[in-house]
Each structure stands twice: as C-alpha cells, then as structure tokens.
C-alpha cells in the first residue's frame, strides 16, 4: 500500500488549490453604477450598482465626514441611499463600496439639493463702543447655509464683505438682526462734560437738597448709571466731601443747615468741576 506517500505528493497541489479558492472568495468584482455618478445631489437618491454578492457596505466620504449609506439588494446588484435627508459640506467626495477586503472608490462631486435655511452673519467689532473713543465700527458679513457652507452670493468667489461703519452717537443696545439678541452691540455714554448744580432749602427739615445734573457727555447722552459724583462743601472752618452715585443722570445729597452758616459747595465728576455755589437759607 503506497497510498500515504501518494497523498503526500498531492499536498502542494491541494495547498495551491486552497489558496486559489480563498482568493476567489475575497476578491469581489468592481460594482458598475447603472448611471453617471460623477455629480451627486444630497440627500442622495438611490444610486444603483450592478454587482454580485450580498455583503456590501457603502460609505459616502464627504469632504469632511464619512456617512454610512444604506445598501438595498436587487436582482442585479444593489442600490445605495442616504440614511437621513440632511445636507453636507459641498465639494469633492468619494463613494466607497466594500465587500470583504475589497474596497472600490468612486470620485463624486457633491452639492446640496437645497441650501436649507441661510443665515446672513454680521459680525461687529468691537462689541462695545464708547462714544469718547470712537464711533467707528468694523462689520464683517457673509452668508452661511444650513449645512455650514459659506455661500457665494454673486457666484464670483467673493464670499466675505467688510465695511467700516460710523455709528450713531446715541447711547443704546442695538442689534444687527432684530430677532437675534446675540447680534447685539452696545454704544456706551462717554464721560461727563459739565456738572450743573441746583439746590433748594427745606425749612421744615432744615436741610439743603443739592442736585447735580443732568450729567451728560459731549453728545448729550446721560452719563452711565452709577457714575461717582463728589460734592465738596466748606463752611469756612471745615471742608467735607460726600460721594454719591448718579441715577438717570442726576446725583442728589442733603446737607444739614446750621443756623446762618453759609456753605460754599461744588461738585465734580472725575476732573469735571461744577461752578461753586453758596448754600444759604434765604
């Protein structure tokens, strides 16, 4: 019996057959698209491929992110479709079809069927302007679509606009878009340019009520809330100082009257001084 040595002789041939058969199982043939797929609109409509086998995976590589596609088999192959109906960052992409260890790539150009909701971005800087320093405002504007694509409105590759805007000198909170609080920018009042003083004597309480205001900046805006106003008064012997914060452009103090003493009083906001007035009960 020489069966065993004969079998040994056959081993290399058997080994070769095994390798060949394993290769033929792994190597899938490149699926053929049944229509032109160089330019695709997102969301993808069904893209049909002629292919054999039923173990295909499909991925759409957009320029930014890979998206898994759904594979639905037909008699002659399969078709792939997008799982959601969202847009993508437009541009070049690749469809990858994978079966076992075989990968097949198809270069495509992607654009969105619908730009979705476009947003006109209007960035202002600085966000807060003080009328004392500058009324100049930088505006950078562009349009984005719902899928984070920068829109080219004129089709001339001019994506961004920049302007220098001279703002109104009226203090306030303004918005570049009325319904968007985040688009707000602020014009702040400047420093006080004059300190008018008024007083009245109240005999019942025996006090002088002294009022500084309206405290305004160079454009007539009331100074900021809480601006510190110092009142300095002198009775000939002692000098006293009271500090109060302004409210709605006015600051008020009360000074007790003592008989016929006459006080000289002035007020100041930083280095802006009022005239000196005499407080007397008659």
């Amino acid at each position: 019996m020489n069966t065993f040595p004969d079998l040994l002789k056959l081993l290399p041939a058997l080994y070769l057959m095994m390798i060949l058969s394993s290769c033929s199982n792994d190597a899938a043939e490149r699926p053929l698209p049944t229509s032109e797929i160089t330019r695709l609109s997102i969301p993808l409509e069904n893209i049909s491929f002629q292919a054999s086998g039923r173990e295909w995976e499909a991925v759409l590589f957009t320029f930014i992110q890979p998206l898994s596609l759904e594979v639905i088999y037909t008699n002659s192959g399969f078709y792939v479709s997008q799982k959601d109906d969202l847009g993508v960052v437009e541009g070049p992409g690749r469809i990858c079809l994978k079966s076992g260890n075989s990968h097949f790539y198809y270069e495509v150009l992607l654009d969105n069927r619908d730009v979705g909701v476009t947003t006109a971005k209007d960035y202002r800087s600085p966000k807060t302007v003080n009328v004392d320093s500058s009324l100049s405002h930088q505006r950078i504007a562009f349009i984005l679509d719902e899928w984070s694509n920068v829109v080219d409105p004129g089709g001339s590759l001019h994506f961004f606009e920049e302007q220098e805007i001279i703002l109104t000198s009226r203090v306030g909170v303004y918005r570049t878009k009325v319904k968007t609080p985040l688009s707000a920018y602020y014009i702040q009042p400047g420093s006080c340019t004059s300190v008018p003083l008024h007083y009245e004597f109240r005999p019942k309480a025996n006090i002088y009520k002294v009022m500084a205001g309206p405290l305004q900046d160079q454009y007539g805006n009331m100074v900021g809330e809480g601006t510190m106003v110092a009142f300095v008064y002198d009775d000939g012997q002692y000098t006293n100082q009271m500090e109060v914060m302004s409210q709605n452009g006015y600051a008020t103090i009360e000074v007790s009257s003592s008989g016929s003493t006459v006080y000289s009083l002035f007020a100041k906001v930083n280095e802006t001084f009022s005239s000196t007035i005499q407080l007397q009960p008659w």
Partner: protein, 181 residues
Amino acid sequence: MRLFFTFFFLLILGYLLFQGRAIERSSEKPAFLRADDLVLAHDAEIKVTIHSNYRPDSLELEILEKDYIALWAHLNHLYATNDIIAGKEYYTESWFRHLASHFDEVRTAGATRIDKYHELHIENWSSDGLLCTAIDSNVVFTYEYPDQQITTSKATLAVVLLYQGDHWRIDAMKVISENCN
C-alpha cells in the same frame, strides 16, 4: 444618652462615606490638561499671507497658525473615522451640531487623508481678534486607500474661523476646488 450620640455620629459618618462613594468621578481631564496626540503626531507646513484691513500681531498669528494646523489634524481624523468628539475643541457649536446630525458610529480608518501644505490668505480679521475669514489655497492633500494606493490633490477652500475658548475653531467652509494630480 452617650450611646445615642455615638449611634447618631456613626449614622452620619456612614451616610457621608456612602455619599462620597456614590459621587461619579469624571475621568475626562479638562482640555488644557490633556495632551492632544493627534495634533502632536501631525505636521504640515503653513504659509500665511495677510490681506485684511486689520492685521493680527505676531503672537495672534502664531496662535492662528498653530490652531489651524491642529484643526486639520482633527479634520483628517474625522474624515477617516467619523470621530466627531476628538476635535470638538476646534469646532464651533454650529459646526459640531452639523457633524453630530450625521453621526452614527466611529469607524476604523479606511481611506485616510493627510494635509501637507497650506497657503492661508487672511481676507478679514476682526479688530477684536475674534473672527478670521480666509482662503486656503494650494492645500496639498494626500489620500491613502486600503489597497495602498496613494493620490495627491490640490485644493482651495474658503474658511470661517472664530476664536472661542482657547482656540480658533472652524465655523464654516466652502470647498472651492480640489484637483487630483
């Protein structure tokens, strides 16, 4: 009475110990303590040209260059793996939302992309240094496919970057062109 107080004290102690164990401790370090391996492993050349009315100073420019290259390290990783979390420090909220809307799973890398070179033309620079719009031209990309095939392309992109938190972040993009060599 002493017994009561001892029991009460032990009860409080036990409660506090239990509470201490029950607190979930996050293993995620804050961004500034983390080493970004993707960025450390990435290297690309960048040349910046300024066309804007306001000019960034040298320090601002250095930060922009560093962050822009880091951003591309993450965009390449995202392209290959769909891992939207790794680069979240370099994405604005709206960009991240857009990525998240498409997210299904992180995949093992199939095709990969590497950026080699950027010519970043700063078109607008906000006076407060928080917004930058730019055209990135002659961007050299290398794509490597699972079958070892390698292709190179040159692309031109328009990008909107916002400075938020500690980084420049991408807010929007327009791929103007990409041509394979």
